[in-house]
């Protein structure tokens, strides 16, 4: 058999879990939802911020190259003529003065011949006359006015780019400037996204042009792989943010924006730790709230479950005690809710049970003088036993010759005879559902139609009397075989009588009081052995089923008028017992004794 929890525990656990989950699950769902939405919002916001930063940086890159382009435009305003070399030289020197990023400038005339070379690092040359017409920068500038060369790395370290600008007049030639892109660092290093976010610039092949940590740029192709991968990844996403691993294994969020003319990419990078700092704080907040909520709910659920299951256990205990017969047990619950009401009902029920058990005790007492069927009936209507006046049939019977027998016989014999007699009488009373009022020595008194009403009481009483007479006569014949000569006479009378319980606490008897009782007693006394005498009321009522023979009028003690007396005729089966229906001389004599 599987181990079972005690019922009270399992209810407690059920309540506890239900209450607990009813609050904690929505709490967690809410927090998860909030976290998810927060994450999404943060992601969108981050995307926007990084894009804005990258776009602004791209704008600055554009300004940087545009500035150089515009400055170059100044030196290609005048056409080349023989004496203009000096003037161009001063223009070129001014340009270098003006734009720190330009390391050297070459001025080429309309034929593509180098006329002037001015440099910060090398010796200036004038009129060297080298043919540069096939230089891609010159060709590009002639075609588009401006050409941006590819980024090249001097000694695989410093990024340089050539920018060539052609003058509005073809005769003005072309200016080619060698630009040190390291100077972009000044622009890039000034941009900070949040606290740790930064901007990097890569060329179209993904090589680093600018990075806040300049040495990464100068390291050349050694660190090119990482950034080229990042660049490719960002190009694939088409401008939206990606999470990736940056140099140094840090997880970062990055967004790329391209700079129009030189064809570079500006990448805004922010470490994920900082990027999601606000949402992380929010997450921690909700986690702490969940934890606190869970703890509160644990305590609350424990308390509530205890409060709910506690009274139920008390009720169970109370019900067990009441069930085992402790009707005075009362369940004390003062929770002020339905459970308290339930406990009150239980207590009322206990009270009712106590009353009902008292009642059944009383019914057990009643069964001593009622047939069991009648007792059941009485059980449900207490008022039946209340005093009332009603039409009853009273039957008296007693043994003839018992007095003289009792004088002679031993007590044991007397008791044996009486026991047999009572047994027989009791059986007949039970069979006929009559009410045995009393045994008094050899006499007995039986009521029909009280306390339970029945149909045709007179007839029932006569049939009962016949049955009784047959049974007792059979007994009497066994007694006479033992040498005890005894007979049995019965008297029946019908009329109104007062019936009800009389007595005192502890001893209650149901009895009938009235003329009819006396009359039945008188008739019994007047009856011969084996004779049943009835009054005119019985005779009239029971006429149709039983034959009654009138014995003429008799007068009885206590009665003013003489009364017609009837003898119940024997039926077919009782012929030998009721030998004579006519009054014998003995009856005459008895009647004379009993009568007036």
């Amino acid at each position: 058999m599987s181990k079972r929890l005690p019922p009270g525990r399992s209810l407690f656990i059920k309540y506890f879990l239900t209450l607990f989950f009813a609050v904690v699950v929505p709490l967690i769902l809410g927090a998860v939802g909030e976290a998810w939405l927060g994450y999404r919002d943060q992601w969108l916001r981050l995307n926007e911020v990084l894009q804005a930063e990258a776009r602004s940086a791209a704008g600055k890159m554009q300004d940087f190259t545009d500035g150089i382009r515009d400055q170059l435009g100044w030196v290609v305003q005048f056409p080349w003529s023989q004496d203009e070399d000096q003037r161009h030289r001063i223009d070129a020197l001014r340009l270098l003065q003006q734009v720190p990023a330009i390391v050297s400038t070459t001025l080429v005339d309309e034929t593509g011949t180098e006329r002037l070379f001015v440099s910060r690092l090398r010796v200036n040359r004038i009129g060297r006359g080298m043919d540069m017409s096939t230089d891609p920068a010159i060709i590009g500038a002639r075609a588009n006015k401006v050409s941006y060369g590819p980024v090249r790395y001097q000694h695989d370290s410093e990024p340089y780019m050539r920018i060539a600008v052609a003058g509005t007049l073809t005769e003005a030639g072309v200016a080619v400037a060698d630009v040190n892109l390291k100077l972009i660092w000044d622009v890039i290093a000034a941009i900070k996204i949040g606290h740790t976010g930064y901007i990097i610039v890569v060329d179209e092949t993904g090589r680093l042009i600018a990075h806040p940590d300049m040495s990464l740029v100068l390291r050349g192709s050694a660190s090119a792989g990482d950034f080229s991968r990042l660049n490719q990844m960002l190009n694939a996403t088409n401008g939206s943010a990606v999470v990736t691993t940056a140099d140094g294994g840090q997880r970062v969020v990055a967004v790329s924006v391209s700079v129009g003319d030189p064809g570079w990419n500006v990448i805004a990078v922010q470490p994920i730790a900082e990027a999601f700092e606000p949402i992380r704080a929010a997450l921690w907040r909700s986690l702490i709230l969940i934890a606190i909520g869970t703890l509160i709910m644990l305590a609350l659920a424990y308390w509530l479950a205890h409060r709910m299951s506690g009274p139920i256990r008390q009720l169970e205990d109370g019900a067990k005690r009441i069930g085992s017969g402790q009707f005075d047990h009362r369940i004390a619950i003062s929770s002020g809710d339905e459970l308290e009401q339930l406990a009150m009902r239980f207590n009322e029920m206990a009270g009712e049970l106590a009353t009902s058990s008292q009642k059944s005790e009383r019914i057990n007492r009643l069964k001593r003088f009622l047939a069991p069927q009648v007792a059941e009936l009485v059980e449900h209507s207490d008022e039946l036993l209340d005093g009332q006046r009603r039409e009853v049939v009273v039957i008296f019977g007693d043994l003839r010759g018992f007095t003289s027998f009792s004088k002679r016989a031993e007590p044991e014999a007397i008791m044996a005879v009486l026991r047999e007699y009572y047994e027989v009488v009791g059986a007949v009373v039970t069979r006929h559902e009559a009410t045995l009022i009393q045994f008094a020595g050899d006499g007995l008194m039986v009521l029909v139609n009280a306390p339970v009403e029945c149909e045709n009481p007179a007839q029932r009483a006569v049939l009962f009397a016949l049955d009784l007479q047959v049974a007792v006569q059979r007994l009497a014949s066994s007694w006479s075989a033992r040498g005890y000569a005894m007979g049995f006479g019965v008297g029946i009378a019908m009329g109104p009588a007062t019936v009800g319980t009389v007595g005192y606490e502890g001893r209650l008897d149901y009895t009938a009081v009235g003329n009819v009782v006396n009359l039945a007693s008188r008739l019994c006394a007047a009856a011969d052995d084996a004779q049943i005498l009835a009054d005119p009321v019985v005779a009239e009522r029971a006429n149709d089923s039983v034959v009654l023979v009138s014995l003429g009028e008799r007068s009885f003690k206590g009665y003013d008028q003489a009364l017609e007396v009837f003898a119940v005729a024997q039926s077919e089966g009782t012929t030998e017992i009721f030998g004579s229906l006519l009054p014998s001389p003995k009856v005459e004599r008895d009647l004379a004794e009993a009568g007036v």
Partner: protein, 99 residues
């Protein structure tokens, strides 16, 4: 560099125009100097020293070439030498003019 003033004085006394690689010489009385800004170089130097002390491998640190070059002119010295620099293109190209 320690004896820059003596060098400058010597040049002036012998009426020799002097030219140096660092502007510090020019400030001390040299006529001209052209070269990278030494102070800026030392800032880079301090940064590299810090990175090496923090554990970076010196081999991983790239060589940084100077990108700011300056031309310094000491007009006082020029006057002492009896030169008029206003007629040359030197002055407008100068980043630093000491009067």
């Amino acid at each position: 560099l320690v004896h820059r003033e003596r060098i400058a004085q010597f040049a002036v006394e012998h009426r020799l125009p002097s030219m140096f690689g660092w502007s510090e010489y020019c400030e001390a009385g040299g006529l001209l100097s052209y070269g990278a800004n030494q102070r800026a170089t030392y800032f880079w130097l301090a940064g590299y020293a810090g990175r090496i002390l923090r554990g970076e491998s010196p081999a991983a640190l790239p060589v940084v070439q100077p990108d700011k070059f300056e031309l310094a002119v000491n007009l006082k010295t020029a006057k002492l030498l009896g030169m008029n620099l206003n007629i040359s293109s030197i002055l407008f190209r100068a980043n630093k003019v000491i009067e």
